[in-house]
């Protein structure tokens, strides 16, 4: 064997080859983006505030020295745990978002073909994209190191915890990013990629392990701890929880000890496979593009394609933009892939129902709280993402200027976009309503909840849809708008309650503030509604339903009125956002 062939792998490992011009371009562009600085600032601010609040609530300067020291180290543990956890989630979400348009950008600006005619190869394209984004995320993680360093001074936080959690976070980030990058090769719109990746992660990290664990526990008689260890090997979420538990109660689980190193290796190996796939597919795509064949939008399933597409021209009816927005649905079942995923999702759902009936927990109200909460989260998430893309997508495709020179008024545009989002999110929301309807028919859920859930969903969507349209009218590109809207929703419904809890703790108000804040929170609403009217209570009459809502006992109609009031408040805030959006519409067209 010649020496040269032996050197081939090293050629690929040469740093300048790995990074290449794409990497440099990405770094240069990202250093010009205001959004990255805003993001870093917000991230750091949130972490610092959390740390300070916990610090103040945990460390009350009273009692003797020994007591104070022990509180100090407890505060240290709490802060570390929270920071590490926040970092774990935030870094993965960021990786997904940042890489969601990495390849599609090049594909749809038709630069991929051009890149391929230069000495750059697809390895460098993928590597450059990946490394540049990872570097930014690594930067964010580094920002938290000083905080953790200070906290460690309080004592009690073992080094190896920090090390392990950092490794787990990094490998999880790489995996999530690679997944997003892979999906972005075939999808033009960043939001589609984000949603698909999140669903995929949900499937991989929650649905499959849970299913596997159940099978092996029920049918294979595997011991729980063994199952847990195996799940931890491939599931960063599970491992992270185990690590956290170990932090507070050392020597408790023994799961993380068993396999965190292996876990990281596995994750890297999976990412490597995804990386290889990306290189191959990008190369194929680029060659196609260089030959001028961009329009191969994937294999269509003939049967569905002919029925859903057809040759018929549809006539415009009513207000044109409204017509245009309402005629498009979020997904058409026209490819094998969509068909399979729909079948898969429905299959999972039915399977979980089947299991529920076997294990007899379908008549528990907790079951329905969990289902409804999950569906609500999913619906709100999808709505949040969709709404933020409405106007930016017109800007990006440069069709907004043309629209603005017609006689369609700004309000009509805003209205059509709003209704369009409602229309497009119907499939997601139908999960929630179909679930409720089924179990109303089976008499596991009280029929009266349908109205309440509708009100809750209306209020929540009004808020995120209009804030999404607002961000979308304000910002230039879709990704920024989506990030902004997700942050907004997270702050309103998770950040504020958390802050209220901590402030309440601090100021000695106990739970009053927290309870006031969550009284307006749709996720708590749906939990309470299901708590009151599902399970064994489902068969009672309305009058018999001894309604406990949050802190009050308002009865059914009182509660419904309150929910309607909340929805009205959200709708009013929404209108405010829409008014602002209308003002922005003509300001930032190009």
């Amino acid at each position: 064997m010649k020496a040269e062939t032996l050197l081939v792998p090293f050629k690929y490992l040469n740093p300048s080859r790995i990074t290449g011009p794409i990497f440099e371009k990405e770094l240069r562009v990202s250093s010009r983006r205001k959004r990255n600085y805003v993001l870093r600032f917000v991230y750091l601010a949130i972490l610092l505030i959390t740390v300070l609040l916990i610090w103040k609530s945990e460390v009350r300067m009273s009692g003797n020295v020994a007591f104070r020291v022990s509180r100090l180290s407890r505060a240290g543990l709490t802060i570390t745990g929270i920071v590490v956890l926040v970092q774990f989630f935030a870094a993965q979400i960021l990786a997904v978002i940042m890489l969601s348009n990495s390849i599609s950008d090049e594909v749809y600006h038709k630069t991929l073909g051009a890149l391929m005619s230069t000495p750059i190869n697809s390895f460098q394209i993928v590597m450059g994209k990946l490394l540049s984004k990872l570097l930014q995320i690594a930067l964010l993680i580094c920002l938290t190191l000083p905080i953790l360093g200070i906290v460690r001074v309080f004592g009690g936080v073992p080094w190896d915890y920090l090390l392990k959690s950092l490794c787990v976070t990094l490998t999880a980030v790489i995996f999530a990013g690679m997944l997003s990058l892979n999906i972005s090769i075939n999808h033009k719109h960043a939001y589609v990629v984000i949603i698909q990746t999140v669903l995929m992660l949900f499937l991989l990290y929650i649905l499959l392990p849970w299913f596997g664990a159940w099978i092996s526990y029920e049918y294979l008689d595997v011991r729980e701890i063994v199952i847990a260890r195996h799940v931890a090997l491939i599931n960063p979420f599970f491992l992270m929880m185990a690590l956290l538990e170990e932090l507070f109660r050392p020597g408790n689980t023994g799961i993380s000890l068993f396999g965190w190193g292996w876990h990281c290796l596995y994750m890297l190996a999976f990412s490597g496979l995804l990386f290889l796939r990306a290189i191959i597919v990008v190369r194929k795509k680029a060659l196609l593009q260089a030959c001028g064949q961009v329009k191969s939008a994937g294999r269509k399933w003939k049967f569905f394609a002919s029925s859903s597409k057809g040759q018929k021209i549809r006539r415009v009816k009513g207000q044109p933009l409204l017509w245009k927005e309402l005629r498009k649905s979020s997904f058409k079942i026209n490819s094998i892939k969509t068909m399979l995923s729909v079948v898969f999702i429905i299959g999972c759902l039915l399977f979980s129902y089947y299991m529920g009936s076997r294990e007899k927990f379908l008549d528990d109200n907790e079951t329905h709280i969990a289902y409804c909460m999950l569906f609500l989260i999913l619906g709100v998430f999808v709505t949040t993402v969709f709404s933020a893309t409405t106007i930016t997508s017109e800007k990006v495709s440069r069709s907004l200027p043309v629209l603005l020179t017609t006689l369609i008024t700004d309000w009509q545009i805003i209205r059509a976009k709003t209704l369009g989002v409602f229309r497009r999110t119907i499939p997601v929301w139908s999960l929630l309503f179909v679930h409720i309807t089924i179990f109303i028919l089976l008499r596991y859920i009280h029929p009266s909840t349908l109205l309440q859930v509708a009100i809750i969903v209306f209020g929540a969507t009004m808020l995120v849809v209009s804030s999404g349209i607002f961000f979308s009218s304000m910002l230039k590109n879709t990704t920024s708008a989506v990030i902004a809207n997700i942050i907004f929703a997270a702050v309103v419904w998770a950040g504020i309650p958390l802050a209220a809890m901590i402030i309440g703790e601090l100021s000695g108000m106990n739970d009053e503030l927290f309870e006031f804040v969550i009284a307006f929170n749709p996720f708590f609403h749906i939990g309470d509604v299901m708590d009151n009217a599902s399970g064994s209570r489902a068969v009672k009459t309305l009058a018999e339903l001894d309604y406990n809502f949050l802190i009050a006992r308002w009865g059914y109609w009182g509660t419904t009125t309150f929910l309607a009031f909340t929805a009205a408040v959200y709708a009013a805030v929404g209108m405010l956002f829409l008014t602002l959006a209308k003002g922005n519409l003509r300001r930032k067209i190009f």
Binding site: R315, V316, L321, K324, R398, T405, T406, I589
Partner: protein
């Protein structure tokens, strides 16, 4: 029809338009020329009410762009330099969509859409998806869209880019047709020879300033091209011809261009006849004498300094 006074537009520090003044009469075709980044698109966007000027005024059909946006949109058809198309509409649907957007009653829409499709030669693509069209086809679709509400004023930003030679000629014909219908057209282009043939007026803009505006004839006069004569003689007599021409007092400069001799007069009136007389008297065999015709491209090069900011 279009009136621009002291129009200024700044993007931060950059002055894209500086005190621009322009008047375009009803039924004129106005050609807007300038190097890249001169401010053509900016001007057109302001006229189409998409951009607010920093200062100055602009009127279209007597209506103020700042205050009467809606009225202007009714009479103006604006075709942007780069147009996005919706990816999920068919050609017919796309055009009908815009017909509806201009408040055209639904009964008339079908015939109007058919009409513009025919005008732009797109009938065959009626049920094709908009985003499957080629670049040139999309350009035609854009043109069809502009015509859909029968606007009095057309503002076309580089409508011919991406079109094949045949389509270019067709567009030219179309514009002539539209002119006959009494429409006012403002058109920008980099392909100057195209404007030469159809425009009544030309405006040359550079760095946001109008460096020239007027009719075609005025351009030629300004360039002084009428005082130049191209003389071609049989090769053996060339030396002698140059010698002879140099003796004439009205002639400022004689230069040998190889194939022909360029003769420059101080005042452009006598021109050809003087040259002919002298050369015939000196027994020089003349092949041809013709007044120099400068192409618009040359005028463009001469008037602008080729600075790009």
């Amino acid at each position: 029809m279009i009136e621009i006074t002291n129009l200024t537009k700044c993007y931060g520090q950059l002055q894209a338009l500086v005190d621009l003044n322009l008047n375009i009469g009803q039924g004129d075709i106005f050609g807007f020329i300038g190097p890249n980044g001169a401010g053509k698109t900016t001007t057109m966007r302001i006229l189409a009410t998409l951009l607010k000027p920093t200062s100055g005024k602009a009127f279209v059909d007597g209506k103020n762009v700042l205050k009467q946006g809606k009225d202007i949109r009714r009479v103006v058809g604006y075709m942007p330099d780069f147009m996005g198309v919706y990816d999920d509409l068919k050609v017919f649907e796309y055009l009908e969509f815009f017909a509806a957007a201009f408040d055209i009653p639904s009964k008339q829409r079908k015939s109007i859409v058919e009409g513009v499709l025919e005008l732009t030669d797109l009938q065959g693509k009626k049920s094709a998806a908009v985003d499957s069209l080629s670049r040139g086809m999309q350009q035609r679709l854009g043109l069809a869209r502009v015509l859909i509400h029968d606007p009095k004023v057309l503002i076309l930003d580089e409508p011919a880019s991406g079109l094949d030679p045949r389509a270019r000629i067709e567009i030219r014909e179309l514009l002539r047709e539209l002119k006959k219908m009494g429409k006012t057209i403002m058109i920008s282009s980099h392909i100057l020879s195209e404007l030469e043939e159809i425009c009544d007026f030309i405006g040359i803009i550079e760095q946001g300033r109008l460096v020239f505006s007027g009719t075609m004839d005025e351009i030629w006069r300004k360039m002084g091209t009428h005082s130049k004569v191209h003389v071609t003689v049989v090769p053996e007599h060339r030396e002698k011809a140059i010698e002879l021409l140099n003796t004439v007092p009205e002639i400022v400069e004689v230069s040998d261009q190889g194939s022909h001799i360029v003769v420059d007069f101080s005042d452009g009136q006598v021109a050809g006849s003087v040259v002919a007389k002298i050369l015939v008297n000196g027994n020089v065999d003349i092949v041809s004498i013709e007044p120099a015709k400068m192409k618009l491209d040359d005028a463009f090069l001469q008037l602008t300094k080729g600075m790009v900011h």
